[in-house]
Amino acid sequence: MPTKKNRAGTLAAFIALLYYEFLWNIRKKKIIAIFIIIFAIATVQLAFTPIADAVANPPQTLQANSTFVFGGIEALTGIFLFLVGVATTMNTVSGEFESGTIVPLLTKPVSKTLVFAAKIVASVITLLAAYSFLVGYITIGGTLIYGPQDNLNLVPLGILGLTIGSMVWASVALTLGTLSKNSVLAALGSFGFYIGLLIGGTLIAAQLGASTVLFYAPGMGATGTTAACAGLERGGGQTFSTGTDGLASMLMRWVLNPGQVLNFCGFQFRASGNPTTTLLASDTFANVAFRDLWVSLVYVAGLLLLSWFAFRRSQIVES
């Protein structure tokens, strides 16, 4: 039974651990590096159209675009979420082992679970702050450059989606780092995992189409379309990546247009002529986004549980 004083002590220790973690990341310039990546990406996004317009021959006048922010958030997927996530956690646990600082840390009256929890909370806060900064910057810059924006109320949901989507990769890197006690292995292993999923996902998509297997894989996931599968090759409709990388987009669409149906189409190759397209699954945005959310959360929770378990069991032979 924890007493009141005990709990206050635990809270103080937890805050001390958070402080320890942030000092580490700020002084070692990790957080600064993440913000610089983000600032660069967002600046490119903002400046691309005005520059393209200016250098076009003849020069174009910049058109107002009320969906710039919404579209900008939806465009942030894949390798970007991966890089930010992995950069945040690749040395979170392994760095302590590599530098030997794990020894004095774990011999303080803080449980391994508390140390681990503080590291996770610090990572989530870092990602949340990074994406808030990114989206804030795009929102302000976008409004100034492209005029008034639609659906700004959905922006917080976008930030949440980017954070959780990125946490999937962050959890992969954290787990590999905890198991290997090596930051470089964690980063390389995560990249291998990412590439493997990308290649696997692309092969599946090329052979089978938007197979339902892809609903449950981290990364880009299955591609859904608002068009009917039968007429797919004629074009039309909008397509969406519905994987963990597209969570921000899915969450915003869920609120914006919950009843809209997405079709997931499969291909059947024939000996000659065009492949036929068949409907594999179809679901509303609400259901697709909800599934995407829990798939993401299950990955995050499962991976963190695994690394927590590994961390708790680890013996500190480093001196």
Partner: protein, 313 residues
């Protein structure tokens, strides 16, 4: 569990793969003792200490600290312990004061407590004026000193130091010794490891000697010479080498003999005074004794005989 036991281990063993680093150790450290943990390199000192502070899990056996069983991750036990790792490594980006402040918070110390304690400790370990410098800029000896300071931050009941004076200059070693003496004055139990007898001798009242993972002696320093057969040698110098003398000395059961020109060294394995008997034997064989001297028998020799390798003891 009696209250007056600061550390107690029961058949404590640790294996690294196939290597048995600590072998069924039964160690008792009473509270308020200054207990030296002595052994040569690789004896198993750090391994034992790491089990005490929860960094390693015992392979078999158990231990309790301040009456609490140490099994698994036990922060409650660690609250009462200040530990200085062997060759400690701290976050390089923190200053000495920040390190003490953060660790102090982890012990649940209030801001006022920390404000009072930190300058005091910085001064005590001789880092006056360097407390605001980053640890990355500290010399090895200064890192060792901040290591001692962080072990004392919470004014713990039990202080465990793993080779605190390693890497220090001779003056630093004396300072560390004096620090340990000061810590003890405040009623703290101190358990510290060393491979230097001289160091242990100057600060400890109790000592445990470990060799190849096995405890060879545990008790007071005074008792060590009476309870342990120290190495003693009898060195005899003759006028000139005589053939019969070596043969005569070799018949003696209480010693092994080594001859070098006209000098004979007897490695004794008895506590008795055998000089008269030896003298008679040498003279009987026709030798003329110029000098006979007993060597060894001190603490150093007791220690060496405890950790001696086969054939040397």
């Amino acid at each position: 569990m009696p209250e007056d036991r600061a550390i107690e281990t029961h058949d404590l063993s640790k294996k690294y793969g196939d290597r048995l680093a600590v072998d069924r150790l039964n160690l008792t450290v009473a509270s308020k003792q200054v207990h030296g943990f002595l052994g040569p390199n690789g004896a198993g000192k750090s391994t034992t200490i790491k089990m005490m502070v929860g960094l390693l899990r015992p392979t078999t056996g158990s231990l309790s600290i301040l009456g609490r069983g140490v099994s698994g991750d036990n922060p409650k036990v660690r609250r009462e312990i200040g530990y200085m790792p062997e060759l400690p490594r701290f976050p390089k980006h923190l200053s000495g004061e920040e390190l003490l402040d953060i660790y102090g918070r982890m012990y649940g110390m209030s801001k006022t407590e920390r404000r009072g304690r930190i300058p005091e400790l910085i001064k005590m370990v001789g880092l006056d004026g360097r407390g605001k410098d980053r640890i990355g800029k500290y010399s090895k000896g200064m890192q060792q000193r901040i290591g001692i300071a962080q072990a004392l931050i919470s004014d713990p009941e039990l202080v465990i130091l793993d080779e605190p004076s390693i890497g220090l200059d001779p003056v630093g070693m004396v300072e560390v010794r004096n620090m340990v003496k000061d810590i003890v004055k405040s009623g703290t139990t101190v358990f510290f490891s060393s491979h230097l007898l001289a160091e242990v001798q100057q600060v400890c009242d109790h000592v445990t000697v470990i060799h190849l993972g096995v405890m060879r002696y545990s008790g007071t320093l005074e008792d060590i010479s009476s309870k342990v057969m120290a190495r003693r040698r009898l060195v005899i110098e003759l006028e000139k080498p005589v053939d019969g003398v070596l043969a005569a000395l070799k018949t003696m059961k209480f010693a092994t003999v080594e001859a070098n020109m006209n000098t004979y060294t007897l490695h004794l394995n008895t506590r008795e005074d055998v000089r008269a008997e030896v003298s008679r034997a040498v003279t009987g064989a026709g030798g003329v004794i110029l000098r006979m001297q007993e060597e060894g028998g001190g603490l150093e020799d007791a220690f060496l005989s405890l950790v001696g390798k086969e054939g040397m003891a």
